[in-house]
Amino acid sequence: MRAIKAWKWTLPLAIFAVVVAFLYVGLSRDPREVPSPLIGKPAPQFSLAQLHEPAKTLGSADMKGRVWLLNVWASWCVSCRVEHPLLLELGKAKIVPIVGLNYKDKTPEGKAWLAEHGDPYTVSIVDADGRVGIDWGVYGVPETFVVDKQGVIRYKQIGPVTAEALERKILPLIRELERS
């Protein structure tokens, strides 16, 4: 009967440990961050008019062979202002081309916003109705994608790019992708 005595306290303890482990992992996750199924998949095809030169378009094919960032932004997006200084710095450093997807915005307002806050983008393209955004699985702005030379999405930042995300994930990933 000694075995049962041992069970009596080890079993509840084991259950408690499992519950604690689940809660520890579960509660530390951000439920707003829905992992994208697009990571590791080819970036969606698109061809959109450029914000500053509407007669010109930019398509996914134009970016083949380069590591690049797609940053989804809008003039109405409040948290875009949070990441903007970092993007400006990144743009100035000319590490990678940053394509801005001006998402569900009005062109004059988008242009005015860039004029006011600075323009970190190599080029911005206009997704006025959000149709291309759907293909990229955009559900909140800002979002940032890292695309490799083969045109495969390698990383998605949901919400503003933080200094930590940039230093720990995005920049090392870009360096790694540039080498390959």
Binding site: I4, K8, V34, G130, D135
Partner: protein, 155 residues
């Protein structure tokens, strides 16, 4: 005559007007049903049908467009899952990653049932020092038995 013709015209117009929307109604119901199975990613606990978020508007429009181009419900769901992941479905698909989610509660139920049965069986057999009969030592039990078997005193 003119009255009859007027009524006839009226009936004709009414039937023509109701014939077209009948198919539209079925289509609308199908879309509505589909939207109720899809999650709005912005306000997570609302369906696409209920949500007022901008993205929900866009996705509803997309669902409608896809349906009008002849896509089946499954194809439309697959289209959205490819972009937003399984999270967009209120009913997560059964696959190795979701086995715990789908079968975990039943596994717990079975485990609980087994433990319960073991305890019940042990108590019934009177064995084990955690059973009620085990609370008393064999000496105490014998004394209790003796008291119970005695004639009631002072009768």
């Amino acid at each position: 005559m003119t009255v009859r013709r007027f009524v006839a015209t009226l009936l004709l117009v009414a039937s023509a007007a109701s014939a077209q929307p009948a198919t539209d109604l079925a289509f609308d119901q199908r879309i509505r049903k589909l939207e109720e199975q899809l999650r709005c990613l912005v306000c997570q606990n609302q369906t696409l049908a209920d949500s007022g978020a901008g993205l929900a508007d866009d996705l509803r429009r997309e669902v409608r467009t896809l349906a009008m181009s002849g896509k089946s419900d499954d194809e439309i769901r697959a289209f959205l899952v490819a972009r937003y992941g399984d999270f967009i479905l209120y009913d997560p698909p059964v696959k190795p990653r979701t086995w715990l989610l789908w079968f975990g509660p039943f596994a717990l139920l079975v485990a609980g049932g087994v433990i319960w049965m073991v305890i019940v069986r042990r108590r019934r057999d009177g064995g084990g020092d955690d059973s009620p009969s085990g609370l008393l030592g064999s000496d105490a039990k014998a004394r209790a038995r003796a008291w119970l078997d005695e004639e009631p005193p002072g009768v």
